[in-house]
Symmetry: C2
Subunit: 548 residues, 2 copies
């Protein structure tokens, strides 16, 4: 007779071993490393909660202190590789294999370690597909997660940074796995319950809050006039004609500029209520002026943002908030919202090739992509119709009869033809391809594929790839907005002019925009201080963004 409860039995063994260090469910932080050595097993599949914002930092440090002769060959399945400890465990031989999504601050070191063979790479995922695999073939055996507080039954309060926690806990706890949470404090009564205690096995009282990275804060003071120009073009040339109400903005100064132009330039164009009403979006401080001016109806968030918590709580008509009054975020559901309920994604990238493929990976940095590839892809299959989606579909595919013609999600790449340090945005070949060869990857780390991209916006113009009828037209449409980069200079001028006549390419003047108008005075806030003022003092920027 086969034993069908081996996972439950294994968990009971871990629980019994761990209980030696626990009072009730609570483990003292001083015992943490010894405790982890007791409850972990070599080869375990472990999710160490590192979202792109909040970090189970105390658990990460303790994990990195483990004796690799006791616990080794862990298979880490986590969305963010953000803290040094996330890679230290590979250097020390505690972990061996990695499946992940995002690695912003560690992108250079992770590249070196991959080249050096220190990490056995599973795959670089999008958030939503990594979450998906948590329920199919990458289910964690142990989850090391972070919350604000716990009660004595192990119920958890995540506060505004709920993020990945419910998804990770659900996959782990309901499949015989062990859930260990770090919290700042154990209290008698929680402000609200984000995770029921019967899904949580041990609680570590860290006596300090988990670490959070202010990832979505962009200082309006750093927005350039070129970014303002591209933002004006995007609003007038894309948001307005398609009537984009439901959308997601990527991270970056170009989209921050759009957010700050809504109450000024957008107002002047009479677009209030007609665009940008419903969002799947992190709590961008640069959206505060538009919210205050009444542009926004509703925002669902992936996570929170440092300094925004009081503002979010005070704007519960806009944001999702809990019984305690504070934000409730949820990355898995917000990714789904971005995938299927939004009509547009707009974001920036580091490289775009002649087919419109783009990537933020370069040969010495493997940043991972987080949510952008889900937001920035057209999921095809069946979808509910909406006006922007139908209009975009009709442009892309005028030949198919309406009933059978699918719409298209608007996927917009926005950027300056030359980026930081004068590096060209447009390239013959993505660095991602060279990297794939070097690491012998099955699939180059492309972030957004060219056939999903609908528009590219630069200071030279908007290329509408939906209107391109073949590969050559696409290439020339891209070259036609690539400015003085080598790609731009390689254009076929006559073909580009024909594309402009067909409005495949639109220049600022075609849109009635004078580039000289693009002035910082148009921004609804010109500094972080302006944002704080616009929020009525509710937004409290982190100190590194304060200069007053």
């Amino acid at each position: 007779m086969r034993d069908w409860k081996t996972q439950r039995t294994a968990r009971e063994d871990r629980l019994a071993a761990g209980a030696r260090f626990a009072r009730g469910k609570t483990v003292a932080v001083d015992d943490l490393t010894a405790f982890l050595e007791t409850v972990l097993r070599p080869g375990d599949r472990v999710c160490l909660e590192g979202d792109n914002q909040k970090q189970a930092d105390v658990l990460a440090m303790a994990l990195a202190d483990i004796d690799p002769s006791v616990i080794h060959d862990l298979h880490m399945v986590q969305s963010g590789v953000v803290l040094p400890e996330h890679l230290d465990i590979f250097d020390k031989g505690i972990a061996r294999r990695l499946d992940y999504s995002y690695s912003g601050p560690q992108s250079a070191r992770i590249a070196r370690m991959l080249f050096g063979g220190k990490i056995e790479l599973g795959a670089v995922h999008t958030y939503l597909e990594l979450f998906a695999r948590y329920f199919v073939d990458l289910t964690p055996q142990v989850a090391l997660i972070a919350a604000v507080s716990a009660d004595h039954e192990g119920n958890l309060y995540t506060g505004p940074n709920t993020e990945d926690t419910p998804t990770v806990v659900e996959a782990t706890s309901f499949k015989g796995g062990l859930v260990i949470a770090q919290v700042a404090e154990v209290v008698d009564k929680l402000p609200r319950v984000d995770i029921p205690g019967d899904q949580v096995h041990f609680v570590v009282e860290a006596k300090k809050p988990f670490y959070v990275e202010p990832l979505f804060t962009r200082d309006p003071g750093a927005i350039t006039e070129t970014q303002i120009l591209t933002a004006m073009m995007a609003i007038k040339g894309i948001y307005a004609p398609y009537g984009v109400k439901r959308l997601n903005h990527g991270i970056g100064f170009s989209t921050a500029a759009i957010e700050l132009l809504l109450p000024t330039y957008g107002e002047k164009l009479g677009l209030k209520g007609k665009i940008c009403t419903h969002w799947a979006l992190n709590p961008h401080p640069t959206l505060i002026p538009a919210i205050e001016a009444g542009w926004v109806e509703q925002i669902h968030c992936f996570g929170s943002e440092v300094g925004m918590d009081d503002y979010l709580a005070a704007r519960s008509d806009i944001y999702f908030t809990g019984a305690d009054g504070s934000l409730r975020s949820n990355r898995a559901l917000c990714q789904t919202a971005g995938l299927y309920a939004c009509d547009m994604f707009i974001g920036s990238t580091l490289q775009i090739d002649l087919a419109g493929h783009s990537s933020t990976v370069t040969t010495d940095r493997i940043a991972g992509f987080g949510g952008a590839p889900n937001m920035g892809s057209d999921p095809r299959g069946r979808r509910h119709p909406s006006e922007p989606w139908l209009k975009a579909g009709a442009e892309a595919d005028p030949g198919t009869p309406a009933g059978l013609r699918r719409g298209r999600k608007l996927v917009v790449q926005i950027g300056e033809t030359f980026g930081d340090a004068n590096v060209p945005l447009f390239v013959e070949q993505l660095d991602a391809l060279a990297l794939a060869q070097k690491l012998d990857l099955d699939l180059a780390p492309v972030m957004i594929y060219g056939d999903d991209v609908s528009h590219i916006v630069t200071e030279e113009g908007i290329a509408n790839l939906l209107l391109c009828r073949d590969k050559d037209e696409r290439e020339q449409a891209i070259r036609g907005v690539a400015g003085y980069t080598e790609i731009g200079r390689g254009r076929d001028r006559r073909m580009v002019e024909r594309l402009r006549e067909r409005k495949v390419i639109q220049r600022p003047e075609d849109l009635g925009i004078d580039p000289l108008e693009a002035d910082r005075s148009m921004l609804a806030a010109r500094s972080i201080k302006d944002l704080a003022l616009a929020s009525g003092g509710l937004y409290r920027p982190p100190s590194k963004f304060r200069n007053w």
Copy 2:
């Protein structure tokens, strides 16, 4: 100064009004209609929990008893339209607008009511996109949900049918909405907490369990020899060469036949451990023999299935189960698993046209599609690589260099060339198109689009659409497996032969399958009783499936 807490204030008004009928959070079932008239408002967006399985039936009945002069013009946003009351509320004028996903048992009546203008249709969604819109532009103001039991704080135990509940509650409760749950009983201590009490506002003690439909039970006794033949072809011609380990099966007898052939035919082919190990799947009773024979490693479920609960609890190494020992399902997460973590979807349909588009909608039945269009679509964009996905991608797109070439999800349509009542599976034009014209829909209710379909399996053969290089080849590949239907008889015989030489079409004999082998004796279970026996008595079939 704008008031930014209107939703919270409105909820407090509803709570105060409802409190007159409540002791703590508990409302007596006799007061239910009067209570609903008090807490609802005309024009409310309401999610009445009707999943494709469990039903908030007591709440549905009470809602249908409301006085339409008090509460009217409700906008129903619910995944399943299953009970008569779900449509009665439109007949009575209580509700006006509908956004939904699935309407199996009500498909004929919903069609009549749409034609008659009794229902203002928003859109027919897939589950995942309706859930997505709950967080963007279809957020419920009131959720009427179902659970097994509640405690005095309003914590809920859903039992194995967790299904949509966490998603609906999260969208409603965290956006200022009101959550009302029907439960069979209020208890002092729950077996486990599926929904924290601070997300639940009122509890109705219905004194009986919610209604559940045994939707995924297929009697092996009704499986035909033709279905066995197509199942053999699918296993040998698709599952084996692609090495499909992670998959979803649609509802129907053809896929039930595949499940029942794994421990017999699949075993003979030496495929154990090589295919069908990880599933996103409802608890199909027909998978019991394969599970018992050790074929399956893990299954995550959308919902539960009537009669399967004890079996699921006793197989916790396979299924996701909670602290109480019973199944934990979750439709939103399982749909995501099917979308991004599975390499194959295989299912049946009612009509397939010459482009490979398919639909279960006919001119007098609008069934909705539930999850099939998410499962049965290739989401494109970026995905992690897997062997089946890469192999399928290489077949579809041999020209693109490997690093930039995306894989393809396997999306397989399986069926007999003539279905029930001798109706042909293959048609010139889908009835869905005529329906779209009749109802003036922007988008015909196509279930799975042709460009997502990789294979079509009938008793005549397998058409591999990945290998087709143009529209004509696709059409002839489809005609080439369409048997004696009019579509099949209209084939270009020489072209079909050429396609067969290229293995675009494979006949049973090309696969080394003798149609005479396809015998019911090959099924690992030939009756519902066999399934119950195979489960060691743990599967308890509903009485309508018992004949012993």
